[in-house]
Amino acid sequence: MSPSVYRGAQAWAIPIVLLAVWETSTRAGLLDPRFFPVLSDILVTAVDQLVNGRLGLDLVLTLQRLMMAFALAAVLGVAIGVASGRWRTVELLIRPITDTLYPLPKIALLPLFIIIFGRGEGAYVITAFATGFFQIIISTRGSVRDVPSDLIEAGRNFGATGTRFFTRLLFPAIAPGLLNGLRLGMATCLITLVAAEFVGAEYGLGAMIRRAGQQFAVEEVYAGIVLAGVLGLLINLAFRLVTPIVLPWQRPAQRAAGGQKV
């Protein structure tokens, strides 16, 4: 087994064992099927609902809201995060706001947003955005602060001033922390979005789980949960794929001629 296959097997070992245990124990009737349906039945239900039911629309709407909320949160969050990490005045101005609103569960704002924006897309997108936005501000600010001062001094001494300070020094320097912050920001957007849909929306993964729950359609509830989980997994996978492309210097020795350390 090559090392990468071996590592892949390690990463998937526990999930695969758990899923196998679920499948066999439910089939054997060890667990109450009213609460724990057979795993393969859940998957069949999910596929059936995607193809024939409303689930396809639910999924597309959730994805669409997620993308809008995240894009907005990323652009504004990074801009404000960089500004407040870099300039003391900005930091002092926004600190009271971030300190107050960051810990506030954004789902609590949903009723307000529904009053303001109506029961359209706006309220759900804004609620999800608000979660990721503050998360991204805070992680970006932290990354900017963590740039070693001698690196900043070196950048300035070697002529990275004006806009070059940002393009050639600051953004490359914070890139690892920034990517990680965006990943977490997108995941928290998803959390709040599904919750917001659960509470108020007509369509969307959260709404679908609520509907199914009200009808005691346990397999559909699980299908919704599985899909939400898969979305979260895809977010992480996407960032894991992008990271080595954006941060090639973090890759081990491959790029170097000769390869070995001297």
Binding site: A154, F158, W249, R255, G258, V262
Partner: protein
């Protein structure tokens, strides 16, 4: 002081205070001239403001009072290029790109900048390592890349902030000899900060001794070994006597600084 060469760096009654809770006065009444192609070391106890002094010359800090002037020989020539104690290489750039960083920021075409970078890397024995990333190099090699990056700037003044402070003794000795060689080849104007008295004696034309906080110039020692010294200088009795003499000067200040720290 060398009268024949004109002053390249001129510090005039410079003071630097850092406002804040402690209101630290890092430097006070510092006046110093460094002549063209002169190698001046600054030695003093920890916290005597050596690094602050270097950053004032680099323009990274503004003096609280007094002036810092650097004579320009060409309008577009960078005034200073700095070598940092902890190398401060850009981890996202290859070794070559690190060295090209300064020239590229002056809008030099990529090809030309790469040629300059390769030339400087070769000078420091790093010709093979242009495509490596900094994290793939040893401490001594990173420090040499830092030196190559500064040399590629061809700045008016080379500022070196304890460049060998983080290295093991043998690497340090080797790099001292490499810096001496650079000195002889390119005759740069250098302000060099170090803790190591023997290093200062080995490399410098003059050694500036600083007092504990607030940093003042306590004494300046002129050395007459000339630029064409050899590594064997270290073994001479003259070298040992001078190092001892400077340590005698400095001992009180270091003790004072320690007493301040212990308070």
């Amino acid at each position: 002081m060398s009268v024949q060469a004109k002053a390249k760096v001129r510090l005039n009654d410079v003071a630097k205070k850092f406002p804040g809770q402690e209101n630290v006065t890092a430097l006070e009444g510092v006046s110093l001239e460094v002549a063209e192609s002169e190698f001046v070391s600054i030695v003093g106890p920890s916290g005597c403001g050596k690094s602050t002094l270097l950053r004032l010359v680099a323009g990274l800090y503004e003096p609280s009072s007094g002036t810092v002037e650097i004579e320009s020989s060409k309008p577009d020539r960078p005034k200073t290029a700095m070598v940092f104690q902890e190398h401060a290489l850009f981890p996202w750039l290859s070794v070559r790109e690190n060295v090209m960083f300064g020239p590229r920021n002056r809008n030099m075409p990529k090809k030309e900048a790469a040629e300059i970078a390769d030339e400087q890397l070769a000078r420091l024995g790093l010709a093979r390592f242009g495509d490596f990333f900094p994290h793939q190099l040893s401490g001594g090699m990173k420090q040499r890349v830092g030196i190559a990056r500064a040399l590629a700037q061809d700045a008016e003044v080379l500022l070196m902030d304890e460049p060998l402070g983080a290295l093991d003794a043998q690497t340090r000795t080797l790099l001292q000899e490499q810096i001496l060689e650079l000195r002889q080849q390119t005759k740069p104007t250098v302000l060099y900060i170090t803790h190591a008295i023997d290093e200062a004696v080995f490399l410098s034309d003059r050694i500036v001794l600083m007092s504990a906080r607030p940093g003042r110039i306590r004494d300046i020692v002129q050395l007459d070994f000339g630029p064409d010294r050899s590594p064997e200088l270290r073994g001479t009795s003259e070298f040992a006597a001078l190092s001892q003499d400077i340590w005698n000067h400095l001992r009180d200040e270091v003790q004072l600084a320690m007493a301040v720290d212990d308070r």
